[in-house]
């Protein structure tokens, strides 16, 4: 045998989230009165959904305080939770807060602080020739029907009833969903479980579910591309991807019966309907209110309440305090919605509980 072409069929992918240990030595002059974070390199990992926002924000924060560098590795919400539990990162990020089992693994509910970091909303993007952006109207019932596979063709009478004036083609509906586990899927299936008893009993909600119909694509980008490539396709996509790639998206009927095109403002309106949220009561899908975008949700950041390294911990809470307040302006640039004032307040109160050897690390006045 002269040549043997032997392809190694097994590839092992090792994901290492290493803790940045470098500490810069130069500290800039302290501004008058304003607390300045100490020099530190912070490491975070987790959800992909808010990654564009975190990237914009950490860059802006570093311009403001050059002594603090923040790294963020978007490996998925599950990776964010497990990296935090194994203490290989300073903060984790997830689209769904840690559940009781995960909290127990991380040392108990009292050991971890979870804060809402940003707010996003989802669109139903479609590929139908002759049906322009926002022209297609979908109700909770038709959305559930399409994703359950009971509505199979675009000319279905149920769809025609809500879309008088629009000619929907005689074309099979190709449903596209996420194949990888994701917070985007969690929020969408949470929505379907809320509006459809059928969906709740047959499928349920989760970061991965057993889809009755359709095909899966990996990541928001691949779902968006698959929809763009497939005539007759429809799928749920994070709003930012829809706006950035100029996809056509449906008007969605919200809880009040009004048809809205999902937008950051719609997400803020939906969030404003809930005075407080916490890691066990955080769902804001199908929110009441005339302007509410129905498929909206928060994204979360997690850190340990007791910080072993005081310097790092101080820089971390300062960064997060900035992220949920001044940093929110960077969310709008990348099509996420700003946090409502009441949630910012809750976040800062939570951050003030973070300590190192018994000392509170965040010394800002309690929000009123």
């Amino acid at each position: 045998m002269k040549r043997v072409l032997m392809a190694a069929s097994m590839g092992a992918s090792i994901l290492l989230a290493a803790c940045g240990g470098t500490t810069a030595t130069n500290t800039p002059a302290t501004g008058a009165g304003a607390p300045v974070p100490p020099a530190a390199a912070l490491q975070g990992t987790g959800a992909t959904f808010p990654a564009p926002f975190y990237d914009a924000a950490r860059f802006a924060y570093n311009l403001k305080y050059s002594q603090v560098t923040v790294n963020y590795n978007p490996l998925g919400s599950g990776a964010g939770i497990s990296a935090l539990t194994k203490k290989v990162v300073d903060f984790g990020a997830s689209d769904v807060p840690m559940n009781p089992t995960e909290l127990t693994a991380a040392g108990g509910a009292d050991a971890v602080v979870q804060i809402a970091s940003t707010l996003g909303t989802e669109s139903l993007a479609y590929n139908l020739s002759g049906v322009s952006n926002g022209q297609l109207k979908l109700t909770p019932q038709t959305i559930a029907g399409i994703f359950l596979g009971t509505i199979k063709n675009w000319n279905d009478p149920a769809l025609a009833a809500d879309n008088s004036g629009v000619t929907l083609p005689n074309q099979a509906i190709s449903v596209v969903h996420r194949s990888d586990g994701s917070g985007t899927t969690y929020i969408f299936t949470d929505y379907l479980s809320t509006v459809s008893a059928d969906w709740k009993s047959k499928v349920g909600k989760g970061k991965s579910v057993s889809w009755p119909v359709g095909q899966g694509a990996k990541g928001n980008e691949a779902v968006a591309t698959t929809i763009k490539q497939t005539p007759g396709a429809i799928g749920y996509v994070e709003l930012a991807y829809v706006l950035q790639t100029n996809m056509t998206q449906a008007s969605l009927q919200n809880h009040d019966g009004k048809f809205v095109i999902p937008s950051p403002e719609g997400a803020t309106a939906a969030a404003g309907q809930y005075l407080s949220i916490n890691p066990t009561q955080f769902s804001i899908v199908d929110a009441p209110g005339p302007k509410s975008a129905p498929i909206s949700g928060y994204s979360w950041l997690m850190l340990y309440k007791d910080q072993a390294d005081k310097t790092k911990g101080t820089a971390l809470v300062d960064f997060l305090d900035w992220l949920v307040s001044d940093g929110q302006q960077y969310a709008l640039n990348v099509h996420y919605a700003g946090l409502p004032a009441n949630i910012v307040k809750d976040d800062i109160i939570s951050l003030k509980t973070v300590t190192s050897t018994g000392t509170t690390l965040l010394n800002v006045p309690a929000p009123s």
Binding site: G11, G78, D180, G206, S208, S210
Partner: protein, 319 residues
């Protein structure tokens, strides 16, 4: 008088100690490989245990994959893996064998042989993600708009070609795999055919057989075992291919007779779901799939090796 030693004693001692150092390094390297293999097996089986204890052998017959209810079964991904690999081999076998015969046998086009061999090796060197990218953007649309409607028109009476073609699914994934295993198929078959003793060929021609008759009745039967080995090695490659398949299979846990339907393969499930697989049973089920895949791949590869080894051995003995 004793003749002087060929090598001075001091140098001999140095050689001996050099030998010793070398053998220690060699044994160490060999041992390290075994250690890595052992660690790998343990690291694969131990995390799979929660799923193994919960589902047992029922894992192989259940077609449910429901992360919400923590109920998992491997039947759909096993089916997808086998179907896509079978399509790949059905396409790659005749093309690969034909190309191999041309490369090994036909002397009339000597000039083409070099460039063609080079091209085949080039094809083998294209990273699978690049093939996947091409398939995702170009092949899916081509199949959906041209090939699938034609197949449906011509062979639509078969359950294999029913349903709405979307460009994604078993057929597309099988085609992509066929492209990826072709170089292996061609290169191995060519080497096996070349190893057929010249005397057999000449004897057949001397008896008045034509080139085609010689190929059909002498060369192919002789090389049969080796070609089977080439097929099995191609199969081994097809079974484990992940990224390119994930991009076009449609990633849907279902078993369908239609080749236009979307499906799932063992490596694709793992690649898609490991980041968010929370809970021991869910993650364990992914590792369980990994164990299934490793076992299938090892069995196929060992069979292939044995066949090729047997062929080369007998070829050498007769030569």
């Amino acid at each position: 008088m004793v003749p002087p030693p060929l090598v001075a004693a001091s140098r001999q001692r140095r050689l001996v100690s050099g030998d010793r150092v070398f053998s220690v390094i060699a044994y160490g390297a060999a041992g390290l490989i075994m250690l890595i293999a052992a660690i790998f097996i343990i690291a694969l089986v131990v995390p799979a245990l929660p799923a193994v204890t919960k589902f047992g052998l029922g894992f192989f017959t259940s077609r449910t994959w429901d992360p919400v209810r923590n109920d998992f079964g491997a039947l759909a991904p096993i089916y997808g893996t086998l179907v896509t690999s079978a399509i790949a081999l059905l396409i790659a076998f005749p093309i690969g064998l034909g190309a191999a015969l041309f490369l090994a046998e036909d002397a009339r086009l000597q000039l083409l042989r070099g460039p063609l061999s080079f091209l085949i090796e080039l094809l083998a060197g294209i990273p699978s993600v690049v093939i996947g990218l091409w398939a995702f953007f170009i092949l899916t649309a081509l199949l959906r708009d041209k090939v699938d409607p034609f197949l449906q028109h011509a062979l639509g009476f078969l359950p294999l070609f029913r349903g709405t073609p979307t460009g994604y699914g078993f057929l597309t994934a099988g085609l992509v795999l066929a492209i990826m295993v072709l170089p292996i198929m061609i290169a191995l078959s060519r080497d096996v055919i070349r190893a057929v003793p010249r005397e057999l060929r000449e004897a057949s021609l001397a008896l008045g057989a034509t080139n085609a008759e010689t190929t059909w009745s002498v060369i192919l039967p002789y090389a049969r075992v080796g070609i089977t080995g080439a097929v099995l090695l191609s199969l081994g490659r097809a079974l484990g291919e992940t990224i390119a398949v994930t991009m076009v299979i449609g990633n849907n846990v279902q078993i369908s007779a239609s080749l236009f339907a979307t499906g799932y393969t063992l490596p694709s499930v793992i690649a898609n779901e490991f980041t968010e697989a929370n809970g021991n049973v869910y993650l364990g089920s992914l590792f369980y799939l990994g164990v299934v895949l490793v076992v299938i791949t090892i069995v196929v590869n060992v069979l292939a090796r044995l066949l090729i080894w047997r062929f080369s051995g007998s070829a050498r003995a007769t030569a």
